[in-house]
């Protein structure tokens, strides 16, 4: 409700009063940037479950600046149940082995760090109501700057649960989309004008992107536990999305009231719209405490949630795609320019990162008259951030 008003006022101001946001970089004192951060979740889906322990870092820094807290003995306890000690699989990343979260059971984490005892409050896994459907509309949205509307795909979710299910929700999503290259290379040159299907195809990749906004919902004010038309991701055709198939995996986490309040407060502080009536940013406390020194600020949250998932595919939105033309032209090697050294030069180029786009040969001839080469940026999808491994859920 606040949101509606805020949004309305924003639009009003944009329209009538010509208000706007201008970049402004205030000087921020880098103070004590070493708060302990615990990020973990246990669900009713099979594990392993992961707990990340890091330190907070400078506002002006990058994610890799975060110090990883290693060497902890970290356990997850089930209330009136087993205790499992997690294994540090990477620096600062701890994973369970056997533990299976159960709906209705409560869990907490316990660890010791620098002589202080830390633990989370007990968190119960609530069941998450089933997802009815995930659907989308192609929509054009106004941005904060007049005249720069953007078109994209707006995803929505409907879910319907009983009042026994949790009534607060947090949504996570992950995009997967297939990308190609401008000059695909299907063959390897084996010499003497012979082509073989390539052993290392680089023409089809998959890209992944997880969300960057907090997305929560509640049915607290409704008489039924019904989420209807709740907005999820808004995805534009950038980064070659929608040229080929696109997939979105939606995860619906059931939250208890405290965790919902935590995320809501984070959202208000972190995703301010820039309106006249923004709430003051606040210091949001999670559910992990230093028992030895209770005043210490521990960041993060250990959450226990029932999860529902739904994956959907989009195949037919090529209109939205923003295809990037490859700016590097094809290069052609002619046999007559090199004579006997042609193949040597050609192999050299191929080893040097060029891809074979095509071989020029006369009819019936086994001697190539030339080779068309493409730069790797135009033929290797991994150069565009793609992953060559086809996801298991991907069918052609």
């Amino acid at each position: 409700m606040k949101f509606i008003i805020r949004n309305s006022i924003l639009i009003f101001l944009v329209a009538v009063l010509n208000s706007c946001l201008e970049p402004y970089e205030p000087e921020i004192l880098d103070g004590s940037n070493n708060f302990l951060v615990v990020d973990g979740v246990i669900t009713n889906k099979p594990g392993p479950y992961t707990i990340k322990v890091t330190k907070s870092y400078s506002v002006n820094g990058v994610e890799s600046d975060a110090i990883k807290v290693t060497g902890l003995t970290l356990t997850i306890e089930e209330e009136n149940g087993p205790i499992e000690t997690l294994v540090e699989t990477e620096d600062g990343i701890y994973q369970t082995n056997m533990l299976q979260g159960k709906t209705g059971a409560s869990y907490r984490i316990v660890f010791e760090y620098e002589g202080n005892q830390y633990q989370s409050s007990w968190e119960k896994i609530n069941s998450s109501s089933p997802i009815d459907s995930v659907y989308y509309n192609v929509e054009t949205k106004q941005t904060i700057n007049i005249g720069t509307d953007i078109t994209g795909v707006q995803f929505y979710i409907d879910s319907k649960g009983s009042l026994q299910d949790a009534i607060h929700y947090r949504y996570e999503w992950e995009e997967t989309w297939e990308i190609g290259v401008f000059y695909p290379s299907f063959f390897d040159y084996v010499g003497n004008g012979q082509l073989m299907p390539t052993t290392d195809p680089r023409h089809t990749c998959w890209r992944y992107q997880s969300q960057s906004v907090i997305n929560i919902a509640t049915t607290e004010s409704l008489s039924e536990n019904v989420v209807s038309g709740h907005s999820l991701a808004f995805i534009t055709g950038e980064e070659e999305r929608f040229i080929r198939k696109h997939s979105l995996l939606i995860k619906q986490y059931a939250l208890n009231e405290e965790e919902y309040a935590f995320w809501k407060a984070l959202q208000e502080s972190n995703e301010q719209l820039g309106s006249l009536y923004d709430k003051q940013p606040a210091n949001i406390k999670g559910n992990i405490f230093n028992l030895s020194s209770p005043s210490e600020l521990v960041l993060g949250y250990f959450s226990a949630s029932g999860v529902q998932e739904k994956r959907m595919f989009i195949n037919d939105l090529q209109d939205l795609s923003r295809k990037k033309w490859c700016s590097i032209p094809l290069d052609t090697l002619f046999q007559q320019d090199f004579g006997a050294t042609f193949e040597t030069v050609l192999f050299g180029r191929l080893r040097g990162g060029y891809f074979l786009y095509d071989i020029l040969a006369g009819p019936g001839s086994t001697t190539p008259e030339g080779a068309i080469l493409s730069a790797s940026l135009c033929s290797d999808c991994t150069k565009k951030g793609g992953d060559l491994n086809k996801p298991i859920y991907w069918d052609d």
Binding site: M1, I4, N7, S8, I9, I11, F12, L13, A15, L17, N18, S19, C20, L21, E22, Y24, E25, P26, I28, G31, F35, V37, D39, V41, K52, S56, Y57, S58, V59, N60, V62, E63, A66, E172, Q211, S212, S221, L222, S223, E224, V226, S228, A261, K264, A265, L266, N270, E271, Q272, G274, S275, L276, Y277, D278, Q280, P281, N283, I284, L299, G300
Partner: protein
């Protein structure tokens, strides 16, 4: 006294006669002839020339005269036109309307009436105006020099002192002049008129001079011989009419009066000052005074000496206004055409005021013109307004009514963007007042206002809010020692939000507050000339803090209705101003306020030794209807003292204690439209303010320049602060989200003010701090580790320069310059990753400041030409808000964009905003 006045009138008329031209005889026969044609004919036929009020032009006349002298002709014409004609130089005839010209009889004393030689017939009107002014001046000079006897001579030896009382009014409209000073010099004894223009004070018997001053009015004086108690009424004229003659003497200036932290804003003087929407706005002018600040452009309300916006008692005709804003705070609800002015008390607050802890902003409505009908209006690109006024019965009762509306709907409709074309935002307000004098001793006043705002966006959410009040006041003069004003009043504020964007979640949400009050206030003048003000008041609050309902058959919204709140705020008060000697005066006031929180209601009991959090609720306590839930009693002492070091230098001290039982809840930097007023109760304690103030005042060049330096220190108890992430709307257990915090504010205010001359205005500098401490027992009740931190409106340095330059009587140019330190803000200090997202960590509140604020405005006012417009006068005002086009930051926000944290400043006005307004009036 009455006999004296009557005598005066007769006396004046007896001088009225017509001088005739010798020899010439006149003949004529006119039927249903326009006066202008008749005159033209006469001018063509005889060697005479007429000058008269153009209003006469279209008067139709039947007249027959045959060989009569000029004297007889003019007598006849006088009868037909109700105009007195005056002959100058045998052939120049001047119609003076109802104005009397005193001829040469007392030449030595008054001087000859001067007549300006006409250069062309177009200048008839301006010549006439000069004559009129001269006539007025002469009449005034006459009145000022004549000795008036007050009381009965036979009682002259009964005691040594007597009371003079009476009304001070505006001569043209009969409107009472509020705050006019009536005084006698050597030794100085003076008093200010009350809100009815009434004054009453004790003076030694004998012969002396009484003077009257009022801002913007020409001052006058009377020679009196005081025999016994009696009346003396004054009519003052607009000081602007006769520019050259007038030396504007300020009202009882800062050196003389007793209050610290007081400012009086007279609507007459501030209309020329520029504003964002081309609308003179008394609240925006108040913001240029030292010690008065705002959170930012478009922010609702104002902050006085570091207090919250809900801590100001804003009164319209003595009834509180719960929401003073139109259009998100860009315009106030006070229609400038209908209000007379406003008094702002930052300290030195009289005992008759109470209920808010920071200031009193007392806005007075004008009285309607008791003599004749008039209207006034204006059109600007955003608003249109009209005011009408006039007598219901001449000299006895009058009305005034003003309406205003916006047509920004229209602005939306011409926008190209299809989404915005379907949006709308609008407001209107109506305000009016009726005065009726039953007799000399009794007057009834009814006033009311209603203001409404609405906006609807392309989305289907509609937002409406409305505020209104009405009051019936009865003014009774028991004797010239005792008078009383009693009133019953009602005030309301409500808002409604509805949205139907998603049919399953469609809802309406209402908020409503009702305020019913009775009040009686008495003024008593003791035998030793001490005036005592005492009285009592009681307010019944009934408020519905929030009700949410589903809309439509498909909506699944659960209805939520918070329990109504009810409370009674009562007070008795007494205050007296006492002159110990000519140098030292003191004011002492005492107010005993009481608040009763009443059922039906419920409250929650919490585990002892636990913070008030929902999980620690142990029990719900029910209260039946009108059951007493909680009582708070607050004694409030108000003290002021002024010591005059010299006639032009004084030092003042004051102490104020105030209690506040109704609070605005808001955890946004500026008030948002969904913020609500809530009453004190078991857990929400009354806010208490204590203020100590010390001031130094000096005037220069008479009183034309005033300098004041005021310092203050204020403590605020039980101010409401909010826990991190507090939810204030539809919150049943509000005490779980609020903290009873404490505040301290202090500062020094410098003000240099020029009151007269072509250039007027003021320059002020304020150093002010406003700090808050939330230091509860439990960590969740502590903010910034329980240490003092700057409040949202802590702006240490403020400079305002406001100037108004009058080029001539038709053109003036005013400019304002504003500088203030940026307000405090909370910036992130660190980041961390959580669930694949980068989260910003904000810890200590308000440790940073947004960039400083600088704004320059300009307004040019051009009065229409009186020669061209006859009855309806037009004028133009052209204003440019934010002339420099500076992008002042309203707030600074941070966004995570692709892992990179970017800072932005939100700017409300990015460029200069020009507005042109056309004003018209009939007068």
């Amino acid at each position: 006294m009455k006999r004296t006045l009557l005598f005066l009138v007769v006396f004046c008329f007896s001088f009225t006669q017509v001088m005739s031209q010798k020899g010439q005889l006149y003949s004529g026969n006119y039927k249903q002839t326009l006066f202008i044609d008749l005159v033209t004919d006469l001018e063509n036929s005889y060697h005479i020339k007429f000058y008269f009020n153009p209003e006469l032009d279209s008067t139709k006349i039947d007249i027959v005269f045959d060989k009569v002298d000029l004297n007889s002709l003019l007598k006849k014409l006088s009868e037909k036109t109700n105009t007195i004609f005056f002959v100058k130089n045998d052939n120049t005839i001047i119609g003076t309307g109802e104005f009397v010209i005193i001829p040469q009889l007392d030449e030595g004393l008054f001087g000859r009436p001067q007549i300006v030689k006409p250069s062309s017939s177009d200048e008839r009107r301006s010549i006439l105006e000069n004559i009129r002014e001269k006539a007025i001046i002469d009449k005034e000079v006459y009145l000022e020099n004549r000795v008036i006897e007050i009381g009965e001579a036979s009682k002259r030896f009964n005691g040594e002192t007597a009371i003079i009382s009476g009304f001070v009014k505006e001569a043209k409209t009969g409107e009472p002049l509020v705050g006019a000073t009536v005084f006698k010099k050597n030794p100085l004894v003076g008093i200010a008129t009350d809100q009815f223009g009434y004054y009453s004070f004790l003076l030694p018997k004998g012969k002396f001079e009484i003077e009257v001053n009022s801002v913007g009015m020409k001052s006058t004086k009377r020679q009196v011989i005081l025999y016994s108690d009696g009346e003396l009424n004054f009519e003052l004229r607009d000081g602007i009419v006769s520019l050259k003659e007038v030396v504007v003497t300020a009202e009882r200036n800062n050196v003389d009066n007793l209050q610290t932290g007081f400012a009086s804003l007279n609507m007459k003087n501030i209309k020329q000052i520029p504003s964002a929407m081309g609308e003179a706005d008394i609240m925006k002018i108040a913001l240029t005074l030292p010690g008065v600040q705002t959170v930012g452009e478009g922010a609702t309300g104002f902050n006085v000496r570091g207090g919250g916006a809900d801590q100001n008692l804003v009164l319209l005709n003595d009834v509180p206004v719960y929401n003073t804003n139109h259009l998100f705070g860009f315009i106030s609800v006070f229609n400038p055409d209908v209000i007379a002015g406003a008094d702002l008390y930052k300290s030195g607050i009289g005992a008759q005021y109470g209920g808010r802890i920071s200031s009193v902003f007392d806005v007075a409505l004008r009285d309607g013109n008791k003599k004749k009908f008039g209207f006034k209006g204006a059109i600007s690109p955003i608003t249109a307004k009209l005011m009408v006024e006039g007598p219901i019965k001449k000299d006895t009762s009058s009305y005034i009514l003003g309406v205003r509306s916006t047509y920004s709907d229209w602005v939306f409709s011409i926008l190209e963007d299809p989404a915005l074309r379907n949006s709308s935002a609008s407001f209107f307000d109506v305000v009016g007042k009726v005065n009726h004098s039953i007799n000399d001793k009794n007057e009834l006043i009814f006033s009311a206002y209603y203001a409404q705002d609405k906006f609807k966006l392309n989305t289907d959410s509609l937002y409406e809010y409305a505020s209104g009040n009405a009051a019936l006041q009865w003014r009774h003069i028991f004797s010239n020692r005792l008078n009383a004003t009693s009133s019953i009043s009602y005030a309301n504020y409500n808002y409604k939000l509805s949205t139907s964007e998603k049919s399953l979640e469609a809802f309406e949400l209402d908020y409503n507050i009702n305020h019913y009050a009775v009040k009686s206030e008495f003024n008593y003048l003791t035998k030793n000339n001490t005036s005592i003000k005492f009285g009592a008041s009681s307010i019944l609050y009934q408020l519905q803090p929030g009700e949410k309902r589903p809309v439509g058959s498909t909506s699944l919204v659960t209805p939520v209705s918070l329990l109504n709140e009810k409370g009674i705020e009562s007070a008795i008060f007494v205050g007296s101003e006492y002159d110990i000697n000519t140098r030292l005066s003191i004011y002492g006031g005492f107010r005993l306020s009481m608040f009763n929180s009443l059922g039906s209601s419920q409250s929650f009991a919490y585990e002892t030794d636990r913070p008030k959090e929902e999980r620690f609720i142990t029990d719900t306590i029910q209260y039946s209807n009108n059951e007493l839930i909680k009582t708070y009693v607050g004694p409030e002492l108000r003290l002021s003292a002024r010591y005059k070091l010299r006639d032009d230098i004084s030092v003042k001290l004051s102490y104020d204690r105030m209690n506040q039982y109704i609070h605005m809840l808001s955890n946004t930097a500026a008030f948002s439209p969904t913020d609500t007023w809530r009453l004190s109760g078991i857990d929400i304690k009354p806010q208490i303010g204590n203020q100590y103030s010390l001031g130094f005042y000096k005037t220069f060049f008479g009183t034309s320049i005033e300098l004041s330096v005021e310092g203050y220190y204020k403590t605020l108890n039980n101010v409401l602060e909010y826990k991190d992430g507090a939810e204030l709307l539809l919150n049943e257990a509000l005490e779980t989200d609020v903290i009873n915090a404490r505040g301290k504010t202090y500062g020094v205010e410098f003000l240099l003010k020029k009151n007269s001359g072509k250039l007027t205005g003021w320059l002020s500098y304020t150093y002010a701090r406003s700090l808050i401490q939330a230091n509860g027992v439990y960590p969740t009740e502590q903010i910034n580790n329980g240490e003092y931190y700057p409040s949202n409106f802590d702006k240490p340095h403020t400079v305002v320069l406001l100037s108004n330059y009058k080029f001539n009587r038709r053109v003036n140019l005013s400019t304002t310059f504003n500088y203030s330190t940026g307000r405090p803000a909370t910036y992130p200090i660190s980041r961390y990753g959580l669930k694949n997202q980068s989260i910003l960590l904000y810890t200590n509140r308000n440790q940073y400041r947004i960039p400083d604020y600088i704004r320059v405005d300009l307004a040019l006012n051009i009065e229409g030409n009186h020669k061209v417009h006859k009855k309806i006068h037009g004028s133009w005002s052209l204003s440019v808000y934010n002339l420099l086009g500076r992008s002042n930051a309203y707030s600074v926000i941070f966004r995570n964009e692709g892992g990179q944290i970017n800072g932005y400043k939100l700017t409300v006005f990015k460029s200069a905003i020009p507005t042109i307004t056309y004003h018209f009036k009939l007068q």
